[in-house]
């Protein structure tokens, strides 16, 4: 078994598209949630989202290739290039054949699908864009990253709704740990802030009209976001030999299904997955100092996640800290787990806990230390990153300090 470390990070986020703007947004609790302005809002009941307004695909993608890609794939490329540059790894030569690329997404090319339906049903057009199919396919993000980086190794997409990014990183971790590949690029990308996408979420009655306030008693639902994040995972020996800067080590991964309700989370399922991650990492509960929570800001997730953490950690639950990034980032769905994996890697590197922003009123049902509103310097030896998806698909990563 190889040890696996994180040596590169790349993001597209509602608070910026560089590692440092992303991190400062999280640490300062500078929310990326804002009034929707990129699409017509006349038919929307919920008029806020965390749109990645700084993302400018035209500035870095060859215009001849731009029309081949949905926004989610453009974001995947940008974050993958950023992560590779950040790691300093050279993907030419042998690594071009052996590097794995795994990109999670919930919806795939949602913007493409929305635009084509708008043409067909809204404008009665008789044809849609000729590349509609290859733009909207769920694997388009993974395929475009491979083409962009000229990597021919194992490449595929992972779709598990809000856990997609975490599953992608977890699978890449297993491939590097098991020696299948020496290096992997893994993460997630999502861009479904379309009129159709927002109406679909509105219909579920889980969106907040106001703000995302994880673990706060007055929380009123989740706020949709978008973005992408990719991480370079590498055999530790290899990274050390080339003198790479190491953000964190990945120690373990747990995953499973609730096999229960379609949308309501299961405390048991959450707890079981955290225990799997701990066991896989060879950690005891008191090794964990911090949990990057799923923390969506819905009534049921945050209360259930709190109960699950209490079940797993017992008395130690009152000694660890947890926080949610979603007040700042919104819920990036298929990208969320990847963005939060980046946040967790940075938390370990810098030994600073990003706060739960937007927090206002303590809730007895969410009675853990949620690091309300203000970042904190603190020793973090091992951290978990939780993702719990619609469809009952759970994924938890364990990260260790390098």
């Amino acid at each position: 078994m190889k040890r696996v470390v994180v040596t590169g990070l790349g993001v597209v986020s509602p608070v910026g598209c560089s590692r440092e703007t992303f991190w400062s947004g999280l640490v300062e609790g500078r929310t990326g949630v804002k009034p929707i302005a990129h699409i017509p809002t006349g038919r929307l009941d919920i008029k806020i989202a965390a749109y990645a307004s700084d993302f400018d695909a035209e500035s870095f993608i060859d215009p001849r290739r731009l029309s081949q890609m949905d926004r989610f794939a453009q974001m995947a490329i940008f974050s993958a290039r950023s992560a590779v540059a950040d790691s300093g790894v050279d993907l030419r030569g042998e690594l071009a054949q052996t590097t794995a690329i795994i990109v999670g997404t919930g919806m795939g090319g949602a913007t493409t699908l929305d635009n084509s339906y708008q043409r067909l049903y809204g404008e009665n057009a008789s044809r849609v864009h000729p590349l509609t199919v290859p733009r909207l396919m769920v694997n388009a993000g993974a395929s475009h990253v491979a083409m962009d980086l000229e990597v021919t190794g194992p490449t595929f997409a992972v779709a598990s709704a809000c856990s997609s990014g975490t599953h992608a990183v977890g699978l890449a971790f297993q491939m590097v740990r098991g020696g299948t590949v020496p290096l992997a690029l893994a993460g997630g990308a999502e861009a479904c802030l379309t009129v159709g996408g927002l109406k679909a979420w509105e219909a579920l009655r889980v969106l907040s009209p106001e703000a995302c306030r994880p673990f706060s008693k007055n929380r009123s639902g989740l706020v949709l976001g978008e973005g992408a994040a990719m991480l370079v995972l590498e055999e530790r020996e290899r990274a050390v030999a080339r003198g790479a800067a190491i953000y964190a080590e990945i120690l373990g991964f747990g995953m499973g299904a609730d096999a229960g309700d379609l949308t309501s989370p299961s405390v048991e399922g959450m707890a079981r997955t955290m225990r799997q991650a701990l066991a896989d990492a060879g950690c005891n509960v008191d090794d964990i100092d911090y949990i990057n929570a799923h923390g969506t800001g819905t009534l049921i997730n945050d209360a259930s996640e709190t109960r699950a953490i209490r079940d797993v950690f017992g008395a130690h639950a009152d000694r660890l800290a947890i926080s949610s990034n979603k007040a700042v980032l919104g819920h990036g769905l298929g990208a969320a787990g990847a963005l939060e994996a980046v946040a967790t890697a940075l938390t370990l590197q810098r030994q600073i806990l990003p706060p739960t922003a937007g927090y206002q009123i303590p809730d007895p049902q969410c009675d853990l230390d949620v690091v309300p509103n203000v970042a904190r310097s603190q020793t973090v030896r091992v951290a978990l990153s939780n993702s719990f998806a619609f469809g009952g698909l759970n994924a938890v990563l364990a990260f260790g300090r390098n």
């Binding site: 009655r205 907040s208 929380r219 009123s220 639902g221 309700d261 949308t263 309501s264 049921i300």
Partner: protein, 84 residues
């Protein structure tokens, strides 16, 4: 159109029980209505009556939808407002 009867029929369909078994006092959660059933029922009623029901699964408005009678009262008032 008998709003009460229509609502009971919609709820009974989701619970897979006879509509006659529901009274105004029937507690929706006790009757086995899960959150997704509820969201679907609201959609059915909005479509049927051409109204919009203010329901967010995360806020206290859930308390306004505790019993069958609560739903009937709210829908009836919205239907009347629309007719006025």
């Amino acid at each position: 159109m008998d709003v009460g009867k229509e609502i009971k029929a919609a709820i009974a369909k989701h619970l897979n029980v006879p509509a006659e078994s529901l009274t105004d006092d029937t507690d929706l959660a006790d009757a086995g209505l899960a959150s997704l059933d509820f969201v679907e029922i609201i959609f059915d009623l909005e479509e049927k009556f051409g109204i919009e029901l203010p329901y967010n699964a995360n806020t206290a408005s859930t308390a306004d939808f505790k019993t069958v009678g609560d739903v009937i009262r709210l829908v009836s008032s919205l239907v009347e407002t629309r007719a006025a």
